[in-house]
């Protein structure tokens, strides 16, 4: 069973794009600084990547079996439904365990008001304040120069 050339190009593009998206997701999982940012990469990029692979597979088997192949669509829809649910539960578990968040996270003040803030992030914040004061001084100085 040989595929027509245009269909082969289409399936190959879907496969390569999907695998690259999945690689980006896993790379983000390995490299991003804290848990909440790490949660972004697999739940978005990897789901999209696997969706691309499944679309490529659906095109291939639709041509091979001479009818529309629904199985892959089933898996795609299932993954699209379950990925946000599991991400939400993981984020809730992380909030429950009070994992430290990266400095600059929105709503950090609210967490601090609830007594959830970490010593580490407080220290970082203090350093940042010092840095910003220095930065402010330098910018005013540059203003004077100009």
């Amino acid at each position: 069973m040989t595929l027509p050339f245009w269909l082969e190009i289409l399936v190959s593009t879907c496969l390569i794009l999907g695998s690259l998206f999945a690689l980006v997701g896993s790379f983000g999982l390995a490299r991003l600084p804290d848990f909440y940012t790490r949660l972004h990469a697999p739940t978005k990029a990897t789901t999209l990547g696997v969706g691309g692979i499944l679309i490529g597979s659906a095109l291939y088997f639709s041509h091979q079996d001479f009818n529309l192949s629904i199985h892959e669509l089933l898996i795609t829809i299932f993954l699209l439904i379950t990925a946000p649910v599991s991400a939400h539960l993981l984020a809730k578990a992380a909030m429950h365990q009070e994992l430290p968040q990266m400095h600059g996270t929105q709503g950090e003040a609210l967490l601090k008001a609830q007594g959830h803030s970490q010593v580490q992030s407080n220290e970082r914040q203090a350093e940042e304040k010092k840095d910003s004061e220095k930065g402010g001084d330098s910018t005013t100085a540059s203003h004077k120069i100009t």
Partner: protein
Amino acid sequence: MLMQVVPVAMGIFCVALLLNLWRLLIGPTLPDRILALDTMYINCIALIILYGIWQGSNLYFEAALLIAMLGFISTVAVCKYLLRGDIIE
């Protein structure tokens, strides 16, 4: 051309799985490890589908669907355990 593209995509997924394994091993906290396992099963689904294309066989969808359902349920169960200290109350 497809028969050259499928091994390349499989190689990329193997690299992705190795990155996930690295996060699973060094992950500083428990939710990190759960997230790494979650990503690993999603990547395994893609590897199985790619193997199905490589073999030209329709047989592997059921395996992929089973892995998807069991992986989701296990992630939810472990998250519930972390949240409540119990799975079924």
